[in-house]
């Protein structure tokens, strides 16, 4: 089955054509500068058989980007597509699983887009364009929140008045589910444990967002992100958790409306806010070496960043109980050994021991960086959200086809 997977940004569109179950990539690339004209013209960076080419086309919207991508694939003789998979950030309370696109699903997506007003709308517009331009192709929407839909009520709730839950849908949704699900599956496979019996804490430490996920029996039972992606860890520009009175103090102090404070906490806080100069934790780690107030500040940033992860890791190890593994993934998780070390060092009492040498020298992923004695394995796994989406689509369509056969 050839599945074309789309990962939609506000002005970009990543795509990969994947063949399952073999998991081979037939083509991939990214359409950039979608939307109104900018200084740099819109173009598609297209990759096939390891060769990358750039194609300039005006792309006023994601629909146009989709047409361009389809033309490039046809040109390369890759027009044989069986299904389209879409990444959608927020499925709200409505989508606990992936969904085959039809009119009702589109209506449901539009209702949900108030929960993710920045992320969902471009993806929804792409879903609609695909349905219009290639109505014969089954389209499956895969949600970043769906993996977390099984989080139990006591972990999902906040201790707030019931009407906030009922009227505004205030609860934990959790995010990064596509990635957490993928690395969980990969880690279980790597350790030779059945996914359904696999317990872990998955640390998705991205260059932007970051979250931890507690996994029991292969399923998410908690995620450090909450109603929005703002809660939890210190991220590149997001503050993570705060005393709930802090946003109120900020409203009062800055005299701005809700949006101003939201911007501050989402775009100017976290590593960027603390360091004052860079949103990349690697810059803080590099600057932390040496003396002087600059490196002192950088050290404080790195300490706070890792400390927050460590606390949540402890919390989730307690939640999971008997964890088989701690998984690190995404840019920071895969590429920044000192963070992994700071988070895991000195945790021997909980059965978690990191091997400094193995942690520093990783030749290929997935890798196990725990000591031989460590009861809990520490795995570094490369995440692949598009592959995760393709797997979900494949599983869903196969199961559906099977059901049709059985009915017949």
């Amino acid at each position: 089955m050839n599945i074309l997977v789309f990962n939609c940004g506000s002005s970009s569109l990543k795509y990969r054509l994947l063949r399952l179950p073999g998991e081979a990539e037939l083509a991939g690339g990214e359409a950039r500068r979608i939307g109104p004209r900018t200084a740099e013209p819109a173009h598609v960076v297209h990759r096939v058989n390891g060769i990358t080419t750039t194609h300039y086309h005006p792309m006023p919207d994601h629909g146009a980007a989709f047409s361009n991508v389809m033309q490039l694939l046809e040109r390369d003789g890759l027009a044989e597509i069986d299904a389209i998979g879409h990444r959608m950030v927020h499925g709200g309370g409505r989508f606990a699983d992936c969904a085959l696109v039809d009119e009702a699903v589109i209506a449901g997506l539009e209702e949900t887009s108030v929960l993710a007003p920045l992320h969902n709308p471009p993806a929804i517009s792409l879903v609609k364009s695909c349905a219009r331009l290639r109505p014969e192709l089954p389209e499956v929407v895969v949600f970043d929140t769906a993996f977390h839909s099984g989080i139990p009520e006591y972990a999902r709730n906040y201790a707030i008045p019931g009407w906030m839950r009922e009227e505004i849908g205030v609860r934990k949704y959790g995010f990064h589910g596509i990635s957490h699900e993928y690395v969980t599956t990969e880690a279980a496979r790597f350790l030779g444990i059945a996914t359904a019996k696999f317990n872990a804490v998955s640390c998705h430490l991205g260059s932007g967002g970051a979250s931890l996920c507690a996994v029991v029996n292969g399923l998410s039972v908690d995620n450090t992100m909450g109603y929005s992606p703002l809660q939890g860890l210190i991220m590149s520009t997001r503050s993570g958790s705060l005393d709930p009175s802090v946003p109120l103090r900020l409203f009062h102090h800055l005299g701005c409306n809700g949006t101003g404070v939201e911007d501050l906490l989402n775009k100017k806080s976290g590593v960027l806010g603390l360091s004052g100069s860079s949103s990349d934790i690697r810059d803080a780690l590099a600057a932390a070496v040496g003396d002087g107030p600059e490196s002192e500040r950088a050290r404080a940033v790195a300490d706070a960043y890792a400390w927050r992860i460590r606390k949540h890791l402890g919390a989730y190890l307690a939640v999971v109980g008997r964890a088989d593994a701690v998984i690190f993934t995404d840019t920071v998780g895969e590429e920044v050994p000192p963070i992994r070390y700071a988070v895991c060092a000195g945790m021997e009492d909980f059965g978690l021991a990191i091997d400094r040498g193995r942690n520093e020298k990783i030749s290929a992923l997935p890798a196990d960086v725990a000591t031989d004695e460590s009861r809990i394995r520490i795995l570094v796994v490369k995440t692949d959200e598009e592959m995760s989406i393709a797997r979900t689509v494949h599983r869903f369509l196969t199961r559906q086809a099977l059901a049709v056969c059985q009915d017949g």
Partner: protein, 407 residues
């Protein structure tokens, strides 16, 4: 916090109503506020103000200093009463009688009830030991009911700058029925003066002008017609010339400009007057010399500016939010100014001193400037709480996160 303030408000109710009663019992026509000023000063002393001050205009100012230099809040009410016709009253205007849950008497609504509530709001914050960030200024002003807001002008021009206090916002204790009012129309009094050597020409012209001005519909901005009253016509003789003066009152809407209105009146008057004979016509805002109780004299122009605070500005929003958090219903609205000569100092604050102002007071606009004026005693108590809540939201130290009873 709000529960604590409410408990203290309940305990304070008799005191604030009693104080309002004392104010009502003390006659204070404009320019004769000395007696009531002494009571205000004593009231501020027992309320625990840090600094109490009477300026040369006779305004009494009480300050509770905040921890920082600002923003400061001005609570403003006037001490003087409007003129009244005792024969129309069924009750004694200065009895200060309390019955049927009402405090009866001249100025109970406009605005001694409001003044009492503002002074006690400050006392409430002090007794609840709620810390202030900016300073809270309560000013009881003179000569508000006689055009020109000269008490307020003196306060803003000289007194507060001398005290080093620049208010960021003002709340007027004028009657709003516990609503949050954000403005009103204005009034101006115009003198049209017709002069000529021929007394018959002058007389005919004056009659014609008065008829014309009094009868024609006056276009105001926005296609509406402006309210216009010819008040009287008087004659005088000087230097061999006959002079007729027509006194008129005209309602002003927010965008209207006084000079333009005068021009319009003048051109109308000229058109009618010159058709009857050779006369000269002058049109001007009515002016009057006033002497304050302190002996100072000043000239007041009879213009009451129309004003309006943006109903969605931070001052309005913060006020609305705070009152609703305290469980106090407060409808936004504007004064209707049903009777000529009514008005507030909001226009002076907004236009001449750029201080955003709103009104919040216990009185009722409909019973102000009329016989058997009263204020609800519950409303006075509620305004005390409401004003304290507003003041805390605007200049108090924020208490977010500390308000549970758990620690």
């Amino acid at each position: 916090m709000y529960r604590m303030l409410k408990a203290r408000r309940d305990a304070m109710k008799d005191d604030v109503v009693g104080f309002a009663q004392e104010l009502v019992r003390t006659p204070s026509p404009s320019f004769q506020e000395r007696g009531v000023a002494a009571i205000v000063e004593a009231g501020m002393k027992s309320a625990g103000f840090d600094n109490i001050f009477t300026d040369d205009a006779g305004n009494v100012i009480g300050v509770m200093y905040g921890r920082e230099n600002g923003p400061n809040l001005l609570l403003l009410s006037h001490m003087d009463s409007c003129p009244h016709d005792a024969s129309a009253w069924k009750r004694h205007p200065f009895s200060g009688e309390i019955s049927d849950g009402r405090l009866w008497g001249l100025s109970a609504s406009d605005c001694k009830g409001g003044l009492a509530a503002q002074i006690f709001a400050a006392a409430l914050l002090r007794r609840a030991i709620l810390p202030l960030q900016g300073s809270l200024i309560v000013a009881a002003t003179v000569a508000e009911e006689k055009w020109g807001s000269i008490g307020v002008r003196a306060l803003m021009q000289r007194t507060l700058p001398a005290l080093g206090l620049e208010p960021a916002y003002a709340v007027l204790g004028e009657p709003t029925g516990l609503g949050i009012y954000y403005g009103h129309d204005g009034w101006m009094e115009i003198d049209a003066c017709i002069r000529g050597a021929n007394p018959f020409h002058v007389g005919d012209a004056a009659e014609a002008v008065a008829r014309r001005l009094g009868s024609r519909p006056w276009a105001a901005e926005g296609g509406k017609s402006a309210e216009f009253h010819v008040q009287n016509l008087s004659y005088a003789q000087s230097e061999g010339l006959r002079r007729a003066t027509i006194r008129m009152a005209r309602r002003l809407s927010v965008p209207e400009n006084v000079a333009r209105v005068l021009e319009q009146v003048k051109s109308d008057a000229l058109e009618v007057a010159t058709s009857t004979g050779a006369v000269a016509v002058d049109v001007a805002v009515h002016e009057e010399s006033q002497m304050l109780y302190t002996g100072h004299t000043t000239v007041a122009r009879h213009v009451l500016s129309a004003w309006e605070t943006d109903p969605f500005c931070p001052l309005m929003e913060r006020t609305r939010h705070a009152l609703s958090a305290a469980g106090l219903e407060a409808k936004p609205g504007k004064w209707r100014l049903g009777k000529a000569g009514m008005g507030t100092a909001g226009g002076v604050l907004m236009r001449d001193f750029s201080v955003p102002a709103i009104g919040y007071g216990p009185g009722d606009e409909d019973v102000a400037h009329g016989p058997d004026e009263y204020a609800e005693t519950d409303a006075i108590a509620e305004a005390t709480l409401g004003t304290a809540v507003i003041a805390h939201a605007l200049v108090g130290v924020p208490v977010y996160g500390w308000t549970s009873d758990e620690i």
